[in-house]
Amino acid sequence: MTKLCSLQEAVNTFVKDGSLLYAAGFTHLIPFSAAHEIIRQEKRNLTVARATPDLIYDMMTAAGCVSKVIFSYMGNPGVGSLRILRSAIEAGELEWEEYSHFGMISRLQAGAAGLPFMPMNQTAATSLEQVNHNIRRMTDPFTNKEVIVVPPLNPDVAIIHVQRADQYGNAQIWGILGEQKEAAFAAQHVIITAEEIVDEKVIRSDPNRTMIPSIIVDAVCLEPFSAHPSYTQGYYDRDNPFYLKWDQISETREEVKQWLHEWVYDLKDRQQYWQKLGEEAHQRLHVKPAFSSPINYGEY
């Protein structure tokens, strides 16, 4: 029961107009190639959730895919603003729903655990709670203290980029783990994009490394370099100059439009994108290997 398919097919099957989408990855393993495919397929009225919308949701919003964003930090990491999302909100053109990081992740944790809410301790800051009615209070029956609670977040689709997966969708991730596991378990459908599709034996040689099991996965797509301009630990570096460049591109609608044509609409897939990036970028983003010290599971 292989779940291998093209990303085009996976997006076409599982991402619908109006879907609630979680393209996971906290600064690491951001599934840009899936976002580009969604833009190419002209999906509309998506609600897009991410702790950090990052450039990926800025691009999708610019392309007209997004009607609502759910987030906890809306910045261009290490650079400044996400100009497109920010101006859409300031202009009243976009719905939004906002949490702290922990509130956002607690919603995913509740969603992944099948719970109707997750508790959090009070922080003393109450402004957000006053403007977001999904942030409520209840009384702990043991101490009578008030706690904050948030409801589950259950995306229609989670897209998760990983270092390696087998054809069944058993997926392994290392480096920053972010909210990948929680987003996958919380979602109704899961699309995995992977740097490498490996033999089942490789996965089974290190079961503790598997974050996402086959049983919750709908589609597995071989997508090397999917995370550029973010990165994949051990595979390639973060393209910081592009994060800076996007700050300029996103200053004018015209430049954004042109960029989307050149780098998304006019390309077929990530392979073409990576080739177009060129040898200089490949060299610059290349990383020298540093392997983990092996461990012994034993033959039992």
Partner: protein, 252 residues
Amino acid sequence: MDYTKSELMTVNAARLLRDGDVVFVGVGLPNLACNLARRTHAPNLVMIYEAGVIGARPARLPLSIGDPTLVSGATAVCSMYDIFSFYLQRGNVDVGFLGGAQIDRFGNINATVIGDYDHPKTRLPGSGGSMEIAGWANRCYIMTPHQKRRFPEKVDFITSAGFLSNRAEREKTGVRGKGPLGVVTNLCILEPDEKGELSLAALHPGATVEQVKENTGWPLKVFDHLRQTEPPTSDELRILRQELDPDGIYIK
């Protein structure tokens, strides 16, 4: 000795850290301050990042909160849920660094919005991890340039709690953290008084009380025993300039 405003703030922030502190680090100046402290008086500082990295020893200057250099050579990596619950909420974090567009008289921080929330004049990035760091890290420090618009009497939106309207109001909520213990600016260090009101505690070399008052949005109290900070040493500046930020990305 010559130094920039950023260098001055970074050096003074670094000096607030104690050896063995577990510190929740952001990128930019707080990251430089922590790495500086680790290479000077606090070799056993443990750096934690909200992305879920513990004991990072970045070999290069991290340019984002999720830079891969934070992971290679770290002691542990965990999920975001774990870093906020098992580490921060559980009480395992000694120090948090915070910043924001506005800091008010009682150390409350606004990083969310200028103007009305539903119809924002300026939409800022929002809380990220800072709401919980401000509540639960045992000690918090704020780093910010000293400008009047950044220090209003009262913030439009409390993204992260300082002392609310006074120290007692914060304590009543039962949060673990003791709140902001110091605000490091390019002019001075502000510290809360017994009521939690930020007051002038120490002047950096060359800065005056008048200069600080002019750049603060409320009638600023001055502590009786106003301190003077030591200027950055040549050793501190050398580490910052040659080892930590050789391209001058943050200390320019």
